[in-house]
């Protein structure tokens, strides 16, 4: 069977239920064994405004969105005005018949959503299921799969609700079959019976943290990171997990520092503005060597920026934040699957090196839905690093929390673990944790802490290359922009180019040697980033002396895709590093 790659856009006002339609379709695509990338574009408002969901489904993995649509489901007039032009030739429009608009072409189905919803499901809101049923019918999906999905999605609300939605969806499908006079090229395939997970980057991060045995999260809500804390908060009823919504981000990070020193794996999740408030606490964790995981979901800045939009503008901020010099690690997962494993690993790195660890995402990754094979949970390793056993502790005369060692790592005992006291200071200190201004001790302590950086650098996750061998052009990227670059490279190579993506799952300690090896021979290195200053390119230059030749940047708050990347390169790109 030939591969296929379809996109459906569902547009409407906030509160109209585009999420419901999109999730019914997404889940159903996944259950046909198809891959998924679904992202939403929404305003920071509760009602009104024009929002949309774009669901892409293909017979092969997809990590970004495409330009053109096969189906547009329009719940408001703006959807027709703004998106009808995005349809491929032969694309279909399904629109709410209640909208008083001129027929938008031949290949369109005016669907009485609310009326059918009321008639068959008992309520006008069932119009969402009517729309999903009609779209599914038009795309030639397997009816039993759709019905299974509806049953599962609405089961939580009771069997009566599930039944009503089912009837509404059938009514939508019947209506489309009887009334749609155009044609749709979509023939949704059923590729496998294997069930896959459908989850967002945020959900994957939360799930990975739970898998890693995180027992404490304190945060203050801030889009796009709120999804992580809310997901964790929901699990407190069945797991021994403490969650607190702090009074501010300052309190949040300090609570986690307290929890970590008492022995829990602890984390915070925030966005740039909230992280700004955490900077002093970050520095404390650097000084008192507290293992801590910081999920930093980026949105455009400065200040409050654009709450629901995407950017990768905080890389150098995370790298340099905090007074003084101390080791840290920065990871940036590129997909939801990687987000899970990165979160799980982050706790190990944090505890083994007793440092703050960043897991950076961006709104596009945080909120987009991906299909992922179920995680093999028994592959998650929990490594708490050098922890003193109760027995060892009892044999010690006194416990020195900051014992100077060759690796820089001082074996950890937790407060209240045994009969020895643990002294943890924010001032410079000696081995026992007592504050000091002695120049010799200070130098030894700073060296001890920074030795951990060297040790961490030895096991840094290397950059990953994808595409042609011996490339002449390299797209350098990180985070969710990987998806766009990967597809751009595939498209270029199909035209006979020799391109490669080099992407960085870990950005600090910076894998300088590996980056040089991968980029050294290429004629052209192009840094592709969602910011205006080319921060990854800058970091490459700082750490290797190699400066990218040009950049593809985007900082309008909207994600980039492959076409954008290719067009920018064709137009010569930009050079932000003067």
């Amino acid at each position: 069977m030939a591969d296929h790659d379809y996109s459906v856009k569902v547009g409407g006002e906030a509160g109209q239920g585009i999420n419901t339609i999109a999730s019914i379709l997404s889940r159903s695509f996944a259950d046909q064994g198809l891959h998924l990338f679904a992202y939403q574009d929404y305003y920071s408002r509760v009602r009104g405004g024009h929002n949309f969901y774009q669901v892409r489904t293909a017979t092969y993995p997809v990590y970004t969105f495409s330009d053109n649509l096969e189906v547009l489901v329009a719940l408001d007039k703006a959807s027709l005005d703004l998106h009808a032009g995005e349809l491929n030739p032969g694309g279909v429009i399904i629109y709410d018949k209640a909208l008083e608009v001129e027929t938008p072409g031949d290949n369109a189905l005016p669907l009485p959503m609310a009326a059918l919803g009321k008639k068959h499901g008992g309520k006008e809101v069932m119009g969402n299921s009517v729309a999903a049923g009609a779209a599914w019918q038009v795309m030639d999906g397997d009816q039993t799969i759709l019905e299974q999905t509806l049953g599962r999605l609405f089961q939580k609300k009771g069997s009566a609700v599930a039944e009503a939605n089912l009837k509404a969806a059938r009514a939508g499908a019947d209506y489309a079959r009887d009334n749609f006079t155009g044609s749709c090229k979509c023939r949704l395939q059923k590729t496998s019976d294997k069930k896959s997970l459908v989850l967002t980057g945020n959900e994957a991060l939360a799930l990975g943290s739970l898998a890693a045995g995180c027992r404490f999260i304190s945060s203050y809500p801030m889009t796009p990171a709120s999804g992580v804390m809310q997901y964790m908060a929901r699990q407190t009823r069945r797991l021994p997990l403490a969650y607190e919504q702090a009074e501010d981000e300052i309190a949040a990070i300090n609570m986690s520092i307290g929890a970590a020193n008492a022995g829990a794996r602890a984390m915070v999740a925030t966005s740039g503005g909230g992280f700004s408030l955490m900077v002093e606490g970050l520095s404390l964790a650097g000084m008192n060597e507290t293992p801590l995981v910081i999920v930093l979901g980026q949105r455009p800045g400065p200040a409050t920026g654009m709450a629901t939009r995407t950017e990768q503008g905080d890389l150098l901020f995370a790298l340099h934040a905090g007074s003084g010099e101390f080791p840290r690690a920065i990871f940036a997962p590129r997909t939801a699957e990687e987000a899970f494993w990165t979160a799980a690993d982050a706790f190990n790195i944090a505890e083994r090196y007793q440092v703050p660890v960043f897991v950076m995402s961006d709104q596009h990754l945080a909120d987009a839905y991906y299909t992922v094979e179920p995680f093999k949970l028994n592959k998650v390793v929990i490594d708490r690093g050098q922890v003193i056993t109760d027995n060892e502790l009892s044999q010690m005369e006194t416990y020195n929390r900051y014992k100077i060692t060759e690796s820089g790592i001082s074996p950890r005992a937790f407060m209240g673990q045994g009969e020895k006291c643990v002294m943890v200071p924010g001032n410079e200190h000696n081995e026992s944790g007592y504050s000091t201004e002695d120049p010799v001790v200070r130098t030894r302590m700073q060296d001890k802490r920074m030795r951990k950086h060297k040790a961490m650098a030895k096991e840094v996750k290397a950059p990953d290359s994808y595409g042609a061998n011996n490339p002449d052009t390299i797209l350098l990227t990180w985070g969710s922009s990987y998806g766009a670059c990967r597809e751009a490279v595939d498209r270029a190579n199909r035209q006979g180019e020799k391109w490669q993506v080099v992407s960085f799952p870990q950005l600090w300690p910076f894998p300088a040697k590996e980056a040089m090896a991968l980029t050294g021979k290429a004629e052209r290195v192009i840094s592709v980033e969602m910011n205006s200053t080319g921060q990854l390119g800058r970091l490459l230059r700082l750490e290797t002396g190699r400066q990218p030749d040009l950049a593809v940047l985007k900082y309008d708050g909207r994600p980039m895709n492959a076409t954008y990347v290719l067009n920018q390169i064709e137009n010569g790109g930009v050079f932000p590093w003067q």
Partner: protein, 288 residues
């Protein structure tokens, strides 16, 4: 086995000025903890930054000597995770009422199981004498060279307004009263707040030991009933020729402490040195 106060001694140089009120407070705290049979390893002192915060460096115990003003969030996190530790938070008036003001409100609201001691010398001691939120009106300091234009904040009415579960004031010059209050506070589950008036012989020449000594009186001896919140407000408004000390308010009925609210009936520490992987299969499968 009886615990001796000297078990809390740390063999280190003490950096307070001669005549500082902190000596009496530290001595009384050691006696109180020992008297309650608590050994240093059973106690966690979360200390702020300032001369008062140095308690986190001058006493033997588990100590988290943290950032200026951030002691209460740290105490919140540590106490949630390990409820076997007796958690004390100790800091100055600048630390708690200026830099950490927001945290104070929320610690009281959460009713964290922490005894919070504010060493209130009505001045910034460590940074050499600038005005604090409790500094007297008109006092001249390096940052108020024309005299402090503001009235001092009243921490007692603030905490009563928050209906904190235990609200008291004591004086470094009355070790007996201080010990009696500390004993109650430490044993009480939930948030126990004690503002401890304290002389700063180096930088506060207005509110001296003698100045306090001539003014303080014990409200409980004078008949105040700590279960009477309204009356507590009335008494707490007094400040001037007479300064009320003692227990202003104490919850007549026990109320849930924060840990119960967050973790339900969970009595064990959230974690010990070993953590078992959580079984999240069921949670993951919700995404199928």
């Amino acid at each position: 086995m009886a615990v001796e106060p000297k078990e809390y001694n740390l063999d280190r140089e003490i950096t307070w000025c001669p005549g500082c009120g902190n000596f009496a407070i530290m001595d009384t705290l050691k006696r109180t903890l020992a008297g309650l049979g608590l050994s240093p390893h059973q106690v966690l002192i979360v200390a702020g930054i300032g001369q008062a915060g140095k308690m986190g460096q001058h006493m033997k115990a588990n100590t988290l000597h943290v950032l200026h003003g951030r002691l209460l969030p740290v105490a919140t996190g540590a106490g949630l995770v390990n409820n076997r530790l007796k958690v004390l938070a100790i800091g100055g008036d600048g630390d708690g009422y200026a830099e950490g003001g927001n945290h104070l409100i929320h610690a009281a609201r959460r009713n964290i199981d922490v005894t919070y001691m504010v060493h209130n010398n009505m001045i910034y001691g460590l940074t050499k004498g600038q005005a604090s939120p409790t500094s007297t009106k008109s006092i001249k300091t390096p940052t108020t060279p024309q005299g402090n234009p503001l009235e001092g904040l009243n921490p007692i009415t603030l905490l009563l307004g928050l209906k904190a579960s235990f609200v008291a004031r004591s004086f470094a010059g009355d070790k007996e009263q201080l010990r009696a209050i500390l004993e109650k506070a430490i044993q009480k589950p939930g948030f126990a707040f004690i503002d401890i008036l304290q002389q700063c012989p180096s930088f506060n020449k207005v509110n001296t030991f003698k100045w306090f000594k001539e003014r303080v009186y014990d409200i409980n001896e004078a008949g105040h009933d700590p279960s009477d919140l309204k009356e507590a407000f009335r008494v707490a408004l007094e400040w001037g020729d007479r300064i009320p000390t003692g227990i202003f308010y104490e919850d007549p009925e026990p109320r849930p402490v924060f840990r119960e609210a967050v973790l339900g009936g969970e009595d064990k520490p959230v974690t010990t040195s070993e953590i078992n992987p959580l079984d999240i299969t069921e949670i993951m499968e919700e995404h199928l």
